[in-house]
Symmetry: C2
């Protein structure tokens, strides 16, 4: 029996295909199979970033998210549906590994920082040899595009989901020197109030599609509407005690 | 008069020269001048990481930190000495830019996340065209080397300096789903107590030279001594509510 293949979680960075690391580009060139998450009918964001680096004729393994728009996100049914999907996705990857093929699983940003790859990793790392290729995170891409120093020296830096209740956002923003609020979407009015309530609105930057050609970066206080996609983020730069 | 050169802050990632991005490698190939911070008599960590990517004969501009070991770190004298040094370093870079040369300033990890480059950027970005090339952070390099999922879903993630008082470390560790404690050094006994006090010791990982060939990774609870270099970090993985 031949040896099992290796699982490789590869971070492809925040969006610009040139922000892929040399190690990620090599892993993509050498992979037997390239797996990626995508919504039905869409190419997949990580797959699009990796496209210039894929070997001609490499086997692709799309892992297509189930439709969950009718299920409330906090329900057990939603969690069960996603859990079954990740089991199924991990099973597809496992079959390739068992056949002795090395599988790269693409991940936007960094594989182990808020990425879908982690669901595959947690299920397969106990059974297969697994390697991680670190990537540039989405938030690094955003503050670099904004050319805004984020944290320095003894700053406390925090990443907050916009889903938190307003009072908790205020408390946590007030307690951090620098912060990133993620997954803004429909939470923008609440996030704006929390930034105001914590005295952070003046230095907050709103970023959409941070490292794409059509990036949108502006002071949140200057943003006239409350329209924001799910993946928009707000940066609250630190380093207030500059020498 | 010719146009001024461009300032480019380039993240070279956490240590492995292959974790440099394609964009960083190109910036290094195209640079007229490559500047980097280093201690006297040492090659500079960022310079070592970038070495395989430097163009033969490129002009190098070392920015040598002053000796500060005799000055207390919290004193005004220490801040003044560093501030004067960053003024001097920015002046050296400015003279190259004024002469029309593009200057890459190397930075370990990501340029705008706890990096020395920010001191140059803050001084020169108002006067010169500046661009940032995002990099893989040191902490991403560490949790990737450990293959440990760090944060997922609605996790709150926090970066804490080990210099914080013990009670504040306990409070902040207790308040976060996932955390990284940086600049461990002589603070390890205190950090250990704070992890114990916040119920996080069991899942804490100690990491030294995360992406180097001689990396040291182990559960902090299994580390027998309290010896730690300044740049050691402790990872407290989140994602406790796995589906």
């Amino acid at each position: 029996m031949s040896a099992a293949g290796k699982l490789i979680g590869v971070g492809v960075g925040p969006g610009d295909p040139e922000l892929v690391t040399l190690k990620a580009a090599r892993a993509l060139r050498e992979a037997d199979v390239v797996a990626f998450f995508a919504k039905r009918g869409e190419p997949g964001h990580a797959r699009s970033i990796a496209a210039p680096h894929l070997r001609n004729g490499v086997t692709e393994l799309p892992l297509i998210y189930p439709i969950t728009s009718e299920i409330p996100k906090c329900s057990a049914a939603y969690r069960d549906t996603l859990c079954a999907f990740y089991d199924h996705a991990a099973g597809k990857v496992a079959r390739e590994l068992e056949a002795g093929r090395n599988v790269v699983v693409l991940c936007e940003g960094d594989p182990l920082f808020y990425g879908s790859y982690m669901h595959v990793h947690a299920r397969l790392a106990p059974r297969f040899s697994a390697e991680i290729v670190a990537g540039v995170t989405g938030m690094s891409g955003c503050w670099s595009a904004a050319a805004t120093p984020m944290a320095q020296g003894d700053d406390v830096f925090t990443v907050l989901p916009a889903t938190l209740p307003e009072a908790e956002l205020i408390r946590r923003l007030s307690d951090a020197d620098a912060a990133v609020v993620m997954k803004i979407g429909r939470h923008l009015p609440k996030v704006r109030r929390a930034l105001q309530g914590s005295g952070r609105l003046e230095r907050a930057l709103y970023v959409e599609r941070g490292t794409m050609a059509d990036a949108k970066l502006l002071p949140l206080a200057a943003k006239a509407d409350d329209d924001a996609p799910y993946f928009a983020i707000v940066l609250v730069p630190g380093w207030e005690r500059r020498p």
